[in-house]
């Protein structure tokens, strides 16, 4: 059985959030494009790196829901976890 941390949210609310994340990703992509044109050297590399990391965090947090496993890692890493079939 799938447990869903967003179970109480409506489909519409979650779809809207997805759209907002996509807009943020698009804005960062356009920023990257102009950073490559306007800047050079270490500053360009740094700004492009920061932008890529921000985009990756947005995808990992909102689309991939990394918190679903992040909170359990200490128990699992310590061997204090058993698997129970649903």
């Amino acid at each position: 059985m799938t447990t869903d941390s967003h179970a109480n949210e409506t489909q519409r609310t979650r779809n809207k959030r997805g759209l907002i994340v996509l807009i943020a990703l698009a804005v960062l992509t356009v920023v990257e494009f102009f950073v490559a044109i306007w800047f050079e050297g270490v500053l360009q590399l740094t700004l492009l790196g920061v932008s890529a990391v921000l985009k990756a965090l947005l995808i990992a947090h909102y689309f991939m829901h990394w918190r679903q496993v992040l909170d359990h890692i200490p128990d699992i890493a310590a061997g204090d976890a058993d698997v129970v079939e649903d």
Binding site: A7, L22, G49, I73
Partner: protein, 205 residues
Amino acid sequence: MAMTDLIHADLHERYGTKAYSSLTMHRLGLWLFIISDAFFFTALISSRYFVSGTDRPDALIQELGLALTAVLLLSSLSAYRSEVAASHGDTEGAKRWIMITIIAGFVFLGGVVFEWYEAFHDFPPGSGFGTTFFTLTGIHTTHVISGIILLAFVYRRAAKGEYGPGHYWGVEGAAKYWHFVDLAWVFIYPTLYLVGESVEMGAHG
């Protein structure tokens, strides 16, 4: 008290351990795979700077790189929506968004094939930049192809009505994998198309 709750309590009492559902372990397993795959991409991306520095050939089609990025970002939204639809029992919506993601994947592949056709003349695989360009885009493309195959399997199962609220790991897992394909491109795109200065490169550049 539900049977699973009884088992959880029994395990905790006997061994002092916490019980996790198999779903949590599925998610953990997928994340371990994703992290190990991310290390692979990191090594390939760093090789670009080692082999060809920060220069990039002026023959790169910037508009195409941007368009490929846009297609993958849009496909991430459609993959997300398929998961949301499946979790709310909206089977038709899940099918529709999975199919849109698959189509976006094929559009991306078409763009890569076109880029390769042009790149073979401008910076062939034997050149410095060409080596990293074809390796990075090639490995990423195999991920796109495997993602499309995975999504096609999930679509087939969704069409049979095998997913619903509380039972949609197939859709969730395929969507997560697809998001990773997008996430990898988030780093590949600036590495190949944006970083450094555009210079004229010959066949050995």
